[in-house]
């Protein structure tokens, strides 16, 4: 019996090594491409929400990690810092709307130095297909309407969806989803207004890929 166990264990181990080797090889050879894909997506999102005249650096490689209750989660969130001639000019911050219809909605919002919103995108969500998923730009233009909202708009007490007496359009079929996003944007704006100056003093935690 002991012989059978050792023999089978050896065979199993051999297969484990072979399988791990294959996975390892493929991982090694696709790693840089996967990283490039992720980076490319990040850059394209940033380009959509931060106008090019507001920064002249590569924001995707200049970021700091932060945690704050205002960002809706205990996990680390990322702030991408934009500079113009080495002076702070704009930033994009990821945050979470914890009160979506179906769990967390991950968003990224971009502000200029005065606190005006230059754009917002939903990065990840699990909202109902066909109803709540209109927060995606692929599905509807709703998220685009956030671009250009001023700091006063965001600070005003009627920064709410229309159903709650505010001035933000919601979309047909869903109230909870847009309400959650609208609130998360306001929280992110509050966080940015409070911490804007200190953010630029932290050390860069996005490695330069090149």
């Amino acid at each position: 019996m002991k012989v059978a166990i050792t023999k089978n264990a050896k065979i199993l181990a051999l297969f484990a090594i072979a399988c791990t080797a294959v996975v390892g090889l493929v991982h090694e050879s696709t790693k840089s491409r996967i990283q490039r894909q992720e980076q490319a997506q990040l850059i394209s999102t940033l380009q959509q929400i931060v106008p090019t005249h507001l920064h002249d650096n590569d924001m995707s490689t200049h970021c700091v990690k932060v945690t704050d209750p205002l960002l809706g989660t205990t996990e680390q969130q990322t702030v991408y810092l934009g500079t113009m001639a080495d002076k702070p000019s704009s930033l994009a911050i990821t945050s979470v709307a914890p009160d979506g219809y179906n769990g967390n909605i991950h968003i990224i919002s971009a502000f200029d130095t005065a606190g005006n919103l230059t754009g917002m995108r939903v990065l990840k969500h699990k909202e109902t297909p066909g109803l709540g998923d209109k927060v995606e730009v692929r599905k509807s233009d709703w998220a685009l309407s956030f671009a250009g909202k001023s700091a006063q708009d965001i600070a005003s007490p009627s920064w709410l969806v229309k159903k709650d007496g505010g001035f933000i359009d919601q979309f047909t079929g869903a109230t909870i989803t847009p309400r959650a996003v609208v609130k998360a944007v306001k929280n992110a704006a509050n966080y940015v207004n409070e911490h804007q100056i200190t953010l630029y003093k932290q050390t860069n935690s996005c490695e330069q890929t090149q």
Binding site: A4, I11, L12, F15, V22, T30, I34, P129, G130, R138
Partner: protein
């Protein structure tokens, strides 16, 4: 001639008679979850197909060296390795689709159709036949996914091949067909219950076709069986 028949039988089994989606009802979780559009369905179908062919080939190749007692852990190991490889490749080359398939890509590991074929067929048959079996089973599964995905996409969004560029590259965005315009989406088709209903309809359709087929064929008169009575005195 004999070999030809064997392949024909394998194809018939995989694509129709023993279709993993419609008859064996294996792998329902990804089947129902990702078929909201034809692109997702095709993506997951192709991923499953790749894993199925790969795992069948490997299992068949090593079948004589694997002791019977530990074959299941080894099969699982092989399948998991293939799924991880496919997942990494999709992450690298079809990033958008990788994101929209989400958790269902790694879940291929637990698709019973794959270990089912490894255990029931590939572990007992030569390499070529096993590859072919994997291919046919995979195609059968993909076909069900695509048909269901197409049905749900037309009913739910009024489009076909929405987001095909995620799978096939940017040229494919011209494949998108707007069948009819919907002001509001037909939610039932997109949500999980729609998948169940659609699946039920597909199975029913297959059964109807089978019945019709049976009726058309002349009744083969059952050979009379002679009963022998043995009397013990």
């Amino acid at each position: 001639m004999k070999i030809d028949n064997e392949y024909k039988e394998l194809a018939w089994q995989g694509l129709w008679k023993n279709n993993p989606g419609l008859v064996q009802l294996l792998g329902l979780c990804p089947l129902l979850a990702v078929t909201s559009t034809i692109t997702n369905a095709l993506g997951l179908g192709l991923a499953t197909l790749l894993v199925l062919v790969g795992s069948n080939a490997t299992v068949s190749y090593i079948r004589n060296w694997v002791p019977k007692e530990i074959r299941i852990p080894i099969f699982v190991l092989i399948i998991a390795a293939f799924v991880t490889v496919v997942q990494l490749l999709m992450n690298a080359f079809t990033y958008g689709l990788y994101q929209s398939l989400g958790i269902f890509l790694p879940l291929i590991v637990t698709n019973c159709a794959i270990i089912g074929r490894a255990e029931a067929y590939a572990s007992k048959n030569p390499l070529k036949q096993s590859c072919f079996d994997g291919l046919m089973m995979g195609l059968g599964f993909t076909a069900v996914l695509v048909v269901l995905g197409g049905m749900r996409e037309i009913l739910g969004q009024g489009t076909l091949f929405d987001g095909a560029d995620l799978l096939l590259g940017s040229w494919a965005s011209s494949l998108r067909i707007e069948v009819f315009h919907l002001d509001s989406q037909f939610l039932l088709a997109i949500l999980p219950p729609g998948a169940f209903i659609g699946m039920g309809l597909l199975i029913a359709l297959k059964n109807v076709i089978d019945e019709k087929q049976k009726e058309k064929q002349p009744e083969v008169s059952p050979e009379s069986i002679e009963r022998v009575r043995v009397k013990f005195d």
